[in-house]
Symmetry: C2
Subunit: 311 residues, 2 copies
């Protein structure tokens, strides 16, 4: 695709794989077109003691598609959290496929937030599931690094063509530090993972200097996000944690490159459930929240570029 040397990576190309343009390039172009780094997280919560997961009189598919439709002008991608679809069984998985197709139809990139990883044969099957051309296939997938290169390799192969991969580096949850911050001689575990992600992604850098092998770095830890950017200068960072998980716009943009590129910021509950704090319908409330989030993040990016050109 972009003529870089493949290094030691074994690449299996199929007709399907050759289809589209470079994933990170597509992200940058969508961001420029929409002046937005926002990713819409589709996390349709389960019912709990405090609240129902779906708005009154909504079915799962209708709820998710209404949110996608309403937010599409303000966001570059939809990130579908597999857990909330699998928890609803086979019907949930049917709706996952429906919502992914709907988001693609609205011009959004789709990210399967699956956090998968397994031994090579099984990882290849997951790559086929979420980056292939089947019903569950998306433009990108999140993966877990615990198994090392083997568990990630089959996903990387798909980055050769038009697919993207986001490897968990520093997650957004409160216990992220428990293992990820363990200090080895070469640095904290997450820093070592970050360096590997930079290496793994080196053959897949596109015309904007960003690799289709990205990283998940939680927006809730801005100090680590800045360090992550140093360790992974050409890595597309997906930052979850804005909104309901507590990260501010300044926190969430800490991982951007000096030119403002290289960053996607996800919010899920604060968009999908904005209707609970308003008298509006789910779609209308989500669209207002997404537009506000887009604007705040663009301002924070502009300020950080003014403040720290050499970062």
């Amino acid at each position: 695709m972009t003529g870089q040397a493949a290094g030691c990576i074994v690449v299996i190309m199929t007709e399907q794989d050759r289809a589209g343009p470079h994933f990170a390039d597509r992200v940058v172009e969508a961001q420029k077109r929409k002046a937005s780094v926002v990713v819409l997280g589709i996390d349709p919560q389960l019912d709990d003691a405090a609240a129902k997961g779906l708005p009154p009189s909504y079915e799962l598919g209708k709820f998710c598609c209404e949110i996608v439709e309403a937010c599409a002008p303000w966001v570059v991608a939809a990130k579908l959290q597999l857990a909330f679809f699998e928890a609803r069984g086979l019907e949930g998985m049917r709706v996952f496929a429906e919502v992914a197709a709907f988001a693609r139809g609205r011009g959004l990139l789709t990210i399967a937030d699956a956090k998968r990883a397994d031994v090579a044969h099984s990882a290849a099957a997951y790559a086929e599931a979420f980056l292939g051309s089947g019903e569950l296939g998306c433009d990108a997938v999140t993966v877990n690094p615990y198994l090392g290169r083997d568990g990630v390799e089959p996903f990387l192969q798909r980055a050769r063509a038009d697919r993207g991969v986001f490897v968990l580096v520093r997650t957004s949850n409160p216990s992220a530090a428990e293992f990820q911050d363990l200090a080895a001689a070469e640095g904290a575990l997450w820093e070592i993972v970050a360096r590997k992600v930079a290496d793994w992604g080196a053959p897949f850098v596109g015309q904007y200097g960003l690799s289709s092998v990205g990283a998940v770095v939680g927006a809730t830890y801005p100090e680590q996000a800045r360090r992550a950017r140093q360790l992974m200068p050409r890595t597309l960072v997906l930052a979850p944690g804005y909104g309901a998980q507590g990260a501010s716009a300044e926190d969430a943009t800490a991982g951007a490159r000096a030119d403002g590129l290289g960053l996607l910021v996800n919010a899920s509950r604060s968009l999908m459930y904005a209707w609970r704090q308003s008298g509006l319908g789910p779609g209308q409330a989500a669209a207002l929240a997404a537009e506000k989030m887009r604007r705040e993040l663009q301002q924070a990016l502009a300020q950080s570029q003014t403040r720290a050109p050499a970062r």
Copy 2:
């Protein structure tokens, strides 16, 4: 269920959760009844250049169920690898549910080899998917520790009742060492994870002294398996890697307790694809391979108990 103190763990009990007996106790009782530590891995491969994933004229469900039916007398559990079902889209997921139900009907424990983990809300949804009472629900699930306690907690809550959890500690793949062997002050990453798994499982120890919070320790690394047993004396170890991945019966039993308990050994391809090396049908070939594997592992366990009573 067994009267241990809950410690700091928040437990949400539902009617469904209260249903059955302790998971690790059920494993031990099945092992005693069948004189077997064998787990049948259901990994229906995808087609590749070398071979078709399904035997000629078989459909996915028929293939998997025939293998389960034939092996049921020799194995205590069926471990279904989610990747190979998700790779086949919605129809694959339908068959996953069908095969899991079929295995339960044949008296087998079911393990969803999902290797899931996510931030708390999402992890709770995965726990509902794979340890709940829905279509994809199994007796146990495999989980990934990278996110720390938060990502595992919702699964642990299900161990309070009759469900089991197997946390990845030291995996069976060639690149397992890449991150898992990183040396911190407290030991290698995988050893630190092992100690945590022992702690997390302490409130869930059953009448045989084994916790329903188990660990995955690859059979391909017997030295680590012996060390893992020292670090996790009350942990049920699920050891993949026997057969096609290269572990011998002696390797695979390295992680057993001195009394021979606490171990499950999985084989997938060497059972499901035994028909390729024989003139027999898939079920018949798998049954012969499973019986042979059962016998070899029982012999290796007996020998290791004779050889090293103080281990």
